[in-house]
């Protein structure tokens, strides 16, 4: 497998996912694209209902039974994930080629097994390509050292409730890195943590993945967090991908009206509160065309006709908008 940077690792094209519910068909994802290169941290930001978690679950093919991938392509290192058999997915992708750092460190570990047991299970079932040689117990100790758990030999015999939230999140990061994945999906990994612990975890994640050839799909609703760790950022709204740019460019020169409004609604020391008028749309009957148009000051009748094509703004920067903001 080609491990050099700039190689395309994950490629998602025109992915649409629908949920069948009692109230009707929920169009959670609408022709979303996503590309992650090797060694890259890609931020996926958006508010509730933007489709960011649906996208992540599609990658692992762990969508609920009510969901159907209606359209699109999904490949990892050129291999079609949508055509792959369940047994192959389990053997090579889930928890091996792609691992997950979950959102909530308080409920994501099994309360009745020790940390050591849960981690050795990973070594046994999913391998330990992320770590050197030695017996499973030693591998667990080594990876716990890497995530800076103090005196790991004393910790492996502990149960999850005996660890603090920050330590549990470190254990979950260790578990995600243990099988030596190509891609780690981090789903709001710091949302449940206090700000000083969040800063520690972000620092740790940077040191563990940057320059190590591991790619990260970093899902967050926190633009501040995204700006600390991501190389590139994709902004989602109501199931559509709205804009993509290198992180610093996105925050300094947003070109999609939604991105700018989102940035302006952040708390600022000047005390001027700006909100986005209107509400997030119902995805059973989403607005036609660009789903942001009912809340957008720049929208015209054209915006309701079709999903806008991506328009290039600069190298690595595009928007799905007919009337992008001036730079």
């Amino acid at each position: 497998m080609d491990r050099s940077p700039d190689t395309l690792l994950l490629n998602i094209e025109r992915l649409s996912v629908h949920f069948h519910t009692d109230r009707g068909l929920v169009r959670a994802l609408d022709h979303a694209d996503l590309r992650i290169h090797r060694g890259e941290v890609l931020g996926l930001i958006g508010e509730s209902g933007s489709g960011k978690s649906t996208l992540a679950r599609s990658v692992l093919r762990i969508l609920p039974l009510s969901a159907r991938i209606a359209e699109g392509d999904l490949s990892l290192s050129g291999e079609d994930l949508l055509a792959m058999k369940e047994s192959d997915l389990n053997a090579r992708v889930r928890g091996r080629g792609i691992t997950l750092i979950p959102q909530d460190p308080f409920t994501s570990l099994n309360p009745v097994f020790t940390i050591g047991t849960q981690m050795e299970d990973i070594v046994k079932w999913k391998g330990s390509a992320g770590i050197g040689h030695g017996p499973p117990g030693e591998k667990v100790i080594e990876i716990l050292e890497r995530v800076q758990i103090p005196s790991p030999r004393d910790q492996v015999g502990k149960y999850p409730h005996q660890l603090s939230g920050g330590q549990r999140q470190r254990v979950l990061i260790a578990m995600a890195l243990l099988p030596g994945p190509d891609l780690v999906i981090a789903d709001e990994p710091t949302t449940a943590l206090d700000v000083t612990v969040e800063a520690q975890i972000l620092q740790l994640m940077k040191s563990l993945v940057l320059g190590k050839g591991i790619s990260v799909l970093f899902i967050t609703h926190d633009l501040g967090v995204a700006s600390q760790i991501c190389h590139r950022i994709v902004v989602m709204y109501a199931g559509q991908d709205m804009e993509e740019a290198p992180a610093d460019v996105l925050f300094s020169q947003p070109r999609h009206p939604y991105t700018r409004e989102l940035l302006e609604s952040l708390p600022n020391p000047e005390g001027t509160i700006r909100d986005i008028p209107g509400e997030i749309p119902n995805l059973i009957q989403p607005p036609p065309g660009c789903r942001f148009h009912p809340r957008c000051a720049r929208s015209t009748a054209l915006c309701t006709q079709a999903l806008p094509e991506k328009k290039a703004m600069a190298q690595g920067h595009w928007v799905r908008c007919l009337y992008p903001l001036e730079s």
Binding site: E47, S48, V195, Q200, G224, S227, L263, P269
Partner: protein, 325 residues
Amino acid sequence: METPILRVDTLKKHFRSSSGLLGGKTALIRALDGVSMDVSREETFGLVGESGCGKSTLGKTILGIYRPTRGSVIFEGRDITHLPRKEVVKVRKDIQYVYQNPGSSLDPRWKVKKILAEPLLIHTPARGAAVEKKVEEMMDAVGLTPQQLSLYPHEFSGGQQRRLGLARILTLNPKAVILDEPTSGLDVSVQATILKLFTDLKSRFHLTYLFISHNLGVVQMMCSRVAVMYAGKIVEMGQTSRLFAEPLHPYTQVLLAAIPLVGKRKEEGLLLSGEPPNPADFPSGCRFWPRCSYREERCTIEEPPLVAVEEGRAVSCHRFTGSRA
């Protein structure tokens, strides 16, 4: 100086917790351990700190939901710390508490109309048309419509449920409102809408807010003064603009440096190691010393008092106590 609407004097709240199946071992949890502060009329006073620092315990003890272990709460010049039950109910009408997740504090089986009318029926003599009028007025004040009164809580979005929570408490014309993590769990755009509403309601109804939050950005924007809590105590207090511009306490410094701001790359040296102490087992001396980069020997022995360092600014750190070297 004008008398404060709310004064808290060396307030303590200790809990006993039992561990082990038969409750053999008991531990004393010092959730709130000697907090003093004044809140002026019609100001927004911020209370910040991380999980377990005691900020919510403080809010609940002020309101009398928890009986304080020691200390007093003075509201409009009157000591309300040890009021009999009957009197407590009257005070609660004037000081209202908005919970973190108002959705779960709205009865799912009741229509909004009944939910909003309930406090009026309990606390005021108003009945019939007067109640109806007040309820409609409050729906309007929080940006909802009287037509929505016939809906059930689940038919509202998260942001709208927070509006309902506010409408419900405003029916009683409170003087002070304790907002406990009022925007946690909200998307940023919804958060902005709710913050705007707080600002509008405050000037319209002349409210005083005690704004409890772990979101420093929001506190900076909303509050005129702020107190930073750590391990059951206030470590620093002052004008928000001054405190954010030049934090003095080492904990405040790292707390502010930890905020992930858009476009701000972190100074790595200011990363705080470790986690807050166990409230059943605080370190001796200053409670922050095990994580403090300025610590000296006396910090591990002697607890620093909260001392005024400039007009309206107080810090609890040996670097600012009189006898520093």
